[in-house]
Amino acid sequence: MTTVMPAGRRSRWRGWRQGRPFVAGLLLGLGGLELICVSWAGLGFLRFTGTAGAASWALGALIVVTGMTTWHNPALRFFSGVLAAVLSLVSLVAANLGGLLLGFLLTAVGSALTLAWVPPQTPSSPHEEH
């Protein structure tokens, strides 16, 4: 059983996805949330104490912001990609070993996909990066 999406909405959704590094932003968002979730689920009564507790929230939030920046402003993909890559490395030593390595892997792959994304070459956007 499949869900039928109206053709207009589907084409708009496809156009929105094609205009930005969608999977990269999604992985960055998931990686940031994973960092927060490991801290949230694991700390118990010590929910917001310690260096790792605070760092998990700060790093996770920043990585989610880089993912949203990648979606909403693809022109800033190099900035957000490099920032996410640096934050993923910092999370290894500051946030529960990068959210038990899973958050680091999601963020690292997401940042690499962000940096590797090539926008579609269209005649209407001659000043797009080469």
Binding site: T49, G81, A85, N96
Partner: protein
């Protein structure tokens, strides 16, 4: 002309060359950090609540204070919350068992030759030691009158050293943890390191 673009997603094209160029330094940096952490050169910050049992041949700590607390979500379990400014563990064996849906019980056994932590807070439901040595010990109970204690007690010591320690921490936080000589072993079942099994 060679087009090195590859359609990876519906939303855009990803250059495999650029992806590799981005991943190589990331994985290289991660490898250096993890190797440095295993060798004790890089400190790693942890905060967590995991069901673990710790056996240690020797434990020493400074700036220690301990008081009763509640553990678990809602404070249902009695526990002892211990704070140490600096703590060192030698010949430790850490066991943690997770019950996975398909695989069943999987036990992680971590042997640590030496680990030191700063800003360590541990909430433990059980702790035993064969020998304990204290210096600069103190005991305080908050009072509003001389004959009427009003709150929970606090015990503390300037320096504490203990031998053959076994504890089951419910939760812990640490500013930094530096370890040396770490080996990790994953086993099926619940068998971990027994008391005195620490090398």
């Amino acid at each position: 002309m060679i087009d090195n673009s590859l359609a990876v997603t519906d939303g855009g094209r990803t250059s495999p060359l650029r992806f590799a160029l981005a991943m190589v330094p990331l994985l290289g940096g991660a490898g250096v950090l993890l190797a440095g952490s295993a060798a004790g050169a890089v400190s790693v910050a942890f905060a967590g609540e995991v069901p673990v049992t710790v056996h240690a041949a020797r434990v020493s700590a400074s700036g220690v204070s301990a008081s009763p607390a509640g553990s678990g979500h809602g404070g249902l379990l009695p526990a002892l919350a211990t704070r140490a400014e600096h703590a060192t563990v030698e010949d430790a064996c850490v066991t943690s068992t997770a019950h996975l849906p398909v695989v069943g019980a999987v036990t992680a056994v971590v042997h640590i030759e030496r680990a030191s932590a700063s800003g360590l807070t541990v909430q433990a439901g059980k702790a035993t030691a064969r020998s304990v040595k204290l210096s600069g010990a103190r005991f305080t109970t908050p009072r509003v009158a001389l004959d009427q204690p009003t709150g929970l007690f606090t015990v503390g010591a300037k320096n504490v050293s203990a031998g053959t320690v076994t504890t089951q921490p419910n939760a812990f936080t640490a500013g930094t943890i530096t370890s040396r000589g770490v080996t990790i072993d994953l086993r099926e079942g619940t068998a971990g390191c027994e008391r005195g099994a620490a090398r």
